[in-house]
Amino acid sequence: MNEQLLGLADDELVIGWRDSEWTGIAPMLEEDVAFSSIAQNEIGHARAVYELLSDDADALAFDRAPEEYLCAPLVQLHLLAWGRTIARRWLYEVADEIRITTLMEETPLAAKINREEAYHRMHAEMWRERLADTPQFRAAVDELWPYALGVLPPEQRDALASRVGRDAVEAVERGAHDAAFADLHAEMTMVRRSAPAGAQW
């Protein structure tokens, strides 16, 4: 299996899940709407990539053990405060643009995903501008920067550093799973695990 595409799908599934945690509790109604739509898009991207990789997308999405997921540690982090959530969204979208535009050469689906991601980038950039001078946002970018680098393979990290205006440091690499991810996995797979064998949706 193409590990780069599987990593992309796992990232999109998990960040979609994490973003959906703001539905109903975002600091303003517009952001309830925005985060819900973004989450829906990201999970839709995950599904399309899983379908590209396998005839049974649900099995690929939900039947693996937690340690088999290839998602970057950045997307696993749980219940971040608003400034940290925005810092994650912004860093993730900048990294994701570098990755997706590279994949577009060989994978037509990536070009379609990129069209939708353009709106996520605008949303993230709008919030970055708004929060850029706050100590909370700056501290969050400091904290999450090594995680953001881990979204990309080593050869694409200089491009990210240049876009974000920071020096590349040691990355938090894929393959690590935090305790919060085990909880997320249990929640995410609950419906599938509890469905009777042979259930059709």
């Binding site: 517009e30 709407v33 925005a34 819900s36 739509s37 973004i38 829906q40 898009n41 990201e42 999970i43 839709g44 991207h45 599904r47 399309a48 379908e51 590209l52 037509p108 689906l109 070009a111 379609k112 995903i113 990129n114 069209r115 939708e116 353009a118 709106y119 605008m122 949303h123 950039e125 709008m126």
Partner: protein, 161 residues
């Protein structure tokens, strides 16, 4: 035996599940229909990948082909071939009449925030371009929310993809 023309005509009667004022043909999501020995091959191009209406659309296409006595084979094409530019002129007019501002045409580069914040978007109710962006996101992933300063009416603007 069913013909491609009959299939197209029947597809024109299938409403979009979320915006029933336009049909799937108006929406431009059907790329081709080929009939071969009673088998009806349909190429269907998704709109937004996370759109929950996609499964409903695919099933409606299959049921419509079966209803005509054909054997449906609906292929979902996962590439960048659908764009909001594929919405037909008739479809765009139906959207506008129902209060949804039709999408701007796709440009060579990805849309930028500065464009969404400019006043080129026309209010579907009064026709004014004195409109501002309220939220990039709206009730479904394919729509933004804008506000018309002239008639003081919020409205939904289709995103360009």
């Amino acid at each position: 035996m069913v013909t491609a023309e009959q299939v197209w005509a029947a597809f024109e009667e299938i409403p979009d599940p979320e915006i029933p004022v336009i049909s799937l043909v108006d929406l431009g999501v059907i790329r081709s229909v080929d009939v071969e020995n009673g088998q009806v091959h349909v190429e269907f191009t998704p709109t937004f990948l996370g759109c929950p209406a996609l499964e409903v659309m695919k099933r409606a296409l299959e049921e419509t082909v079966s209803g005509l006595g054909g054997d449906p084979d609906v292929q979902v094409i996962q590439d960048d071939s659908w764009s909001t530019d594929k919405i037909t002129p008739a479809g765009r007019e139906k959207l506008r009449a129902a209060g949804f501002a039709p999408p701007a045409l796709r440009e060579a580069s990805a849309p930028q925030l500065v464009q969404l914040q400019s006043n080129v978007f026309r209010c579907p109710y009064c026709g004014s371009t004195e409109t501002r962006l309220e939220n990039i996101f709206g009730p479904t992933p394919c729509r933004s929310v804008r506000y018309c300063e002239s008639c003081r009416q919020p409205f939904e603007q289709f995103k360009t993809i």
